[in-house]
C-alpha cells in the first residue's frame, strides 16, 4: 500500500532556510540601498533642491524613482541563486541519494524547496516595499501604488524565473550545466531569432540588415518585462527644461504579468512532473531527461551549423563574389558537415563516451541533416515569404526609404507607392541579387526600405544597387530600380522629407555659408563665414529667407538634394559638388519638427528625441548647378567672388591634395 505524502515538510523547510537565508539577507540589503535608502537620500533636501525649484512634487519624485528601478534583471539572478542553493543536493551523488533516502517524498522535497525559495526571494521585496511605503508616506508623497506595482512586477518575474530555474535544474545532473541551461532557456527565443537573422543576413537577398530592428517579444521575458511592464512616469517641462508643466503616470503591462504568472505555474508543474519521474542515477549526467537528449543535440547542431554554414559562405564571398545560388549551395553543404560534427560532439558530451557512432545516433544525425537541408532550401526558395515580404498597407505605421537621405512616409498614398516600388523591384530579382557578379566594376551603393508596423515590429530590407546611369547596365535593371529614384527625387517630396515638414511654414533663423581662403599671415587655408552681426535679427531672417527661396527654386529644378544609386554619398566623387559648406536652421514654433532621419533609424522614441523640437538644422550639399542658390548667396553677401566657390577637385588642386603642387605655401 502506498502511503499518502504531503506537500510540505517543516524540518526540510527549516533546513532549506538555514542554507539560503544569507542570500535573502544580501538581497534585502541591496534592495534597501536601491529603494528606501536611495529615495530618502534623494529627497533629503526636497524643499530647496533643484528639483523643488523646477516644481517637482513628492509624488513625481516617487514615480521617477520607481520608474527606473530594475525588475526582471535582479529577479533573474536571485531566482537561480536561491533555487540552485536549495536544490543543490540534486547535483551531488551522496547528497542526492541521502536526501531521497529520508522519509520524505519527492512531492514534499519539491514543493517545500519551492516554498522556502519563494520566502527567501520574495520576503525581501515585500519588506523593502513596506519600508519604502512608510518612508514615502512620511515624506508626504502620494501615489504609493507605484511601489506596490513595482513589487508585483518583481514578484511575478521572480516566480517566472524560478520556474525556468526549476525546469533547468531538473533537466541536467550537473549544477554548472543547469546554470548554463537556465540562461539558454531564458534567452532561447531571442537566440533562435538571432541565429535565423544572422543566417538570413548572410544568405538572403535584401536581408543584410536583418540583425537590426529586433523587437523583444513576450518569449524573452528578461527584455520584455523591462520594456513593456513597468511604472511609467512622464514629467513634462517647458521648452527650456526649467519648469515642470505637467505630469502623467501609468502602470503598463498588467495583462502580461497575468500571462507570466500562469506560465510560471505551468512550468512549475512541468518541472515537478520531470522531478517525480527523474531517475536519480542521472546525477552528474549532462542531460538527465531522456526526451531532452535528442532535442538538445539536434537543436544545437541545427542552430550552430546553420549560422556557421552561412558564415562559411560569407567568408568565401568576401574573397570572391558569389552568385546567389552558389552561396546557398556552399552554405548548405557546410551546414550539414558542421552540423554532423557538432551532433556527434554533443552526443559524446551526453553519453560521456567517445563510442557514439551507433545506428540510433546516425538516424538522429540524418534527421538533423534533413532538417538543415529543408530549412536552408526553404530560405532559398523563400517558402515562408521573408525575402518577398511586403507588409499589408493596413499594418504599416510608416514606410521609409534611405539612400543618401532618409525619407519616412506616413501618408497612406505614399505608403502604397513605396509598397508598389518595392514590389516592382523584387519582381526581377534574378539580376538584382547578383549585381556584384554581373556588374563587378560598376559604381554601386546600398539603399534601404523600412516598414514600421503598427504592432511595433520593423521590417528592414537593404539592397546593393548599381548606378542606373552606367552604360553597361541593362534596360531591365534600370526598369526595376529607376522608379525608386524618380520617386525620392520628386521636388515636393524632397522639400517635405529632406528639408522637413516645416519647410513652408517655418522661418530661417540661422544660415552659414563657408568659404576657404588663403591667409598669408598663418600660411594656411582658413574657414570664413559671414555672420552678419551688424544686422538685426529680423534683417537676418529676411536675408536668409531670400536665399532659402532660391534654394527651393533649385529644388524644383532638380539641382539639389538629388539622389542616385552610385557609390558616392553626396560630394566626394561628384565633379560638380562644392567643397563650401552650407547649412541653415528652420524654425516653426507652432509645428513640431518631424525628423525623417530619427524615425527611419528608430531613434524617435528615445528619451532625448521624444521631446518635441521646433527647429532643425539642415545641411545642404550644393553643386555648381545650383545657380539660383549661389546667386542669392552672392547677392546677399555670403561670399564675394566666384573664386570663393570651389569644387572638391578645385580645392584639392589648390591645396595639393590631388598630389600636385599647392598654389600657396603651407605653415608647417
Amino acid at each position: 500500500m502506498q502511503s499518502k505524502t504531503s506537500f510540505f515538510n517543516m524540518a526540510l523547510f527549516k533546513k532549506n532556510i538555514s542554507r539560503t537565508w544569507i542570500a535573502g539577507l544580501l538581497y534585502f540589503i541591496l534592495l534597501m540601498l536601491m529603494l528606501p535608502v536611495s529615495f530618502i537620500i534623494n529627497t533629503a533636501h526636497s524643499e530647496d533642491d533643484w528639483m523643488a525649484e523646477m516644481g517637482y512634487t513628492m509624488e513625481m519624485r516617487l514615480y521617477e524613482h520607481m520608474a527606473y528601478q530594475p525588475t526582471a534583471s535582479i529577479a533573474i539572478v536571485v531566482a537561480i541563486v536561491v533555487t540552485g542553493v536549495t536544490f543543490w543536493y540534486l547535483f551531488n551523488r551522496r547528497d542526492n541519494y541521502m536526501m531521497h533516502a529520508f522519509p520524505v517524498g519527492r512531492k514534499s522535497l519539491y514543493f517545500t524547496g519551492l516554498l522556502s525559495s519563494f520566502v527567501v526571494a520574495i520576503v525581501p521585496v515585500l519588506l523593502v516595499s513596506i519600508f519604502l511605503t512608510i518612508a514615502a508616506a512620511i515624506s508626504g508623497a502620494s501615489g504609493l501604488g507605484c511601489i506596490w506595482y513595482w513589487a508585483l512586477i518583481v514578484i511575478v518575474s521572480t516566480c517566472l524565473f524560478m520556474s525556468v530555474a526549476m525546469f533547468s535544474l531538473m533537466t541536467t545532473g550537473q549544477i554548472v550545466t543547469a546554470i548554463i541551461f537556465y540562461f539558454i532557456f531564458n534567452f532561447l527565443y531571442i537566440l533562435m531569432e538571432i541565429a535565423f537573422r544572422i543566417t538570413a543576413s548572410l544568405l538572403m537577398f535584401g536581408m543584410s540588415a536583418a540583425l537590426n530592428g529586433i523587437n523583444y517579444k513576450i518569449w524573452t521575458p528578461i527584455f520584455f518585462i523591462g520594456n513593456k511592464i513597468k511604472v511609467i512616469s512622464n514629467v513634462q517641462t517647458d521648452e527650456m527644461g526649467n519648469r515642470v508643466i505637467g505630469f502623467t503616470h501609468e502602470f503598463i503591462g498588467g495583462k502580461y504579468l497575468a500571462i507570466y504568472a500562469v506560465a510560471a505555474v505551468v512550468i512549475f508543474l512541468v518541472s515537478y512532473l520531470m522531478y517525480s519521474r527523474k531517475k536519480l542515477e542521472t546525477v552528474l549526467d549532462f542531460i538527465a531527461v531522456p526526451f531532452m537528449k535528442p532535442i538538445f543535440s539536434v537543436g544545437m547542431s541545427f542552430f550552430i551549423s546553420m549560422v556557421a554554414g552561412a558564415y562559411v559562405a560569407g567568408m568565401i564571398e568576401a574573397v570572391k563574389p558569389l552568385r546567389y545560388n552558389a552561396r546557398y549551395a556552399i552554405a548548405i553543404v557546410s551546414a550539414i558537415i558542421i552540423g554532423i560534427i557538432i551532433y556527434y560532439a554533443t552526443q559524446m558530451l551526453i553519453e560521456k563516451t567517445l563510442r557514439v557512432f551507433r545506428l540510433k545516433n546516425l538516424v538522429h544525425a540524418c534527421i538533423y541533416s534533413l532538417a538543415a537541408l529543408v530549412v536552408l532550401l526553404g530560405m532559398r526558395f523563400d517558402v515562408v515569404k521573408i525575402e518577398n515580404k511586403i507588409p499589408n498597407a493596413k499594418d504599416i505605421a510608416w514606410a521609409g526609404i534611405s539612400d543618401h537621405y532618409e525619407m519616412v512616409f506616413t501618408n497612406p498614398d505614399e505608403i502604397e507607392q513605396v509598397r508598389k516600388l518595392h514590389q516592382n523591384f523584387l519582381e526581377d530579382k534574378k539580376e538584382l541579387r547578383d549585381v556584384s557578379v554581373i556588374y563587378p566594376d560598376t559604381d554601386s551603393t546600398r539603399y534601404s526600405i523600412r516598414y514600421k508596423l503598427k504592432n511595433g515590429d520593423i521590417i528592414i530590407r537593404d539592397y546593393t544597387v548599381v548606378d542606373t546611369e552606367a552604360p553597361e547596365v541593362s534596360p531591365e535593371y534600370v526598369a526595376a530600380t529607376q522608379p525608386i529614384l524618380d520617386f525620392i527625387n520628386e521636388p515636393s517630396r524632397i522639400k517635405e522629407h529632406v528639408i522637413g515638414n516645416t519647410w513652408n511654414t517655418g522661418e530661417i533663423t540661422q544660415m552659414t555659408f563657408s568659404v576657404y581662403k588663403y591667409n598669408d599671415n598663418i600660411l594656411d587655408y582658413e574657414y570664413q563665414a559671414n555672420s552678419f552681426d551688424e544686422l538685426s535679427t529680423n534683417e537676418k531672417k529676411e536675408k536668409y529667407g531670400r536665399v532659402y527661396k532660391a534654394l527651393l527654386k533649385d529644388v524644383d529644378e532638380g539641382k539639389v538634394f538629388v539622389q542616385k544609386f552610385n557609390g558616392h554619398d553626396g560630394y566626394e566623387y561628384d565633379e560638380e559638388a562644392l567643397y563650401n559648406d552650407f547649412d541653415f536652421t528652420i524654425t516653426d514654433k507652432e509645428h513640431p519638427y518631424f525628423s525623417d532621419t530619427e524615425h527611419f533609424w528608430d531613434y524617435a522614441d528615445d528619451y532625448f528625441n521624444s521631446y518635441p523640437r521646433y527647429e532643425q538644422n539642415i545641411t545642404v550639399s550644393l553643386n555648381k548647378n545650383c545657380d539660383n542658390t549661389l546667386k542669392a548667396l552672392k547677392d546677399e553677401g555670403f561670399y564675394e567672388s566666384d573664386d570663393d566657390i570651389l569644387t572638391y577637385e578645385e580645392y584639392d588642386s589648390q591645396t595639393g591634395g590631388d598630389g600636385g603642387e599647392p598654389i600657396h605655401l603651407y605653415n608647417d
Binding site: 541521502m98 533516502a101 522519509p103 520524505v104 519527492r106
Partner: protein
Amino acid sequence: MIEVNNVTKKFGDFVALDDLNMNVPKGAIYGLVGPNGAGKSTIIRHLCGVYKQDAGQVLIDGQSVYENEALKQRYTIIPDDIFYFTQANTLDMMKFYKNMYPRFDETLFKKIMDCFPAINPKKMVRTLSKGMQKQVAFMLSIAARPELMILDEPVDGLDPVMRRQIWSLIMSDVAENGLTVLVSSHNLRELEDVCDHVGIMNNGKILIERSLDELQTSITKVQIAFEGEMPALPPEIKVLKKITNGRVHTLIVKGEPRAAEHAIGQMNPLLMDILPLTLEEIFIYELGGENYAVKDIIF
C-alpha cells in the same frame, strides 16, 4: 521483513541487477556480501527508495518502498558516504532526524552520546573525522528507533574498540526490540561474528542465501590420506576444489559434513579430518565457480 522479487535494474546497456531475489526475515541480521560491482549498493539504493527498479518488486513489510514516506519513517540507512547538511552540528542533525522520524527518542540519543565522549555535539559534523561522522550516524540512526536498519560498509573507518561498541549497541537493539539489520560489507570475519543470515551476490544476482549455520554446513573441508593412489570418489560427492600435498589430499566438497564423512569413510582412508570452513572460505569457494577472481577480495 525485506522481500525483493525478480528485480532487474539496467544502467544503459549494463545490467546491474539481474532478476534478483532476496529475502530478509524479521529480526535477522543479514549480511550481504559480494565482490566489487556485484550490485550490493544498487540493491541497497532500491531498498532506500532512491532507485526505481525496471522490473520486479521491492517490498519492506509487504509495502512497496519507492516514494513511501510512511514506510521510510520505520527504517534508517547508514550509507558508506554519509550526508550531513553544511554547517549543521550533531544537535542540528538530531533536530532534523527528530522531525523526520516520529519514533525518534531524544533521551536515547543523549544516552548514546555519552558512549561517544570524543564527539563535540556543537561542532559542525562535516568537520569531524570520518570515523566520528560514522559514530554520529549510528547515534542518529539508533535513536530513530527503527524497525529495520540498512547499513552499507558500516564500520569502515572505525577503530576496533569503536566497532565493538557500535555492534554491541546494534545487537542489544536487535535483542530488545527485534530490530532487523541488513548489512553490506567486505569484512567477512566481522559479518561472521554478527550475522545470522548471509546472502552472497555476484553479477547482479544472489547466488546463495541462507542462515549462517546452514551455509557453514553446506560446504565441508576434508583432509584425507590413502595407502597408495587416491581411489575415485563416489558420484554423490561434489568436489569444489582439490589440493594434493604428497599423499595428503585436501578436498572442499559441497554438502553436509556428516554425509561427506560417511561417504569418504567407506573408502577406508588412512587419515580423515573434517574441518569447519570460515565464511571467508565459503565465499571464495562459492564464487570460485562463478569465475570470480579471488585476488580481488580484500579481507
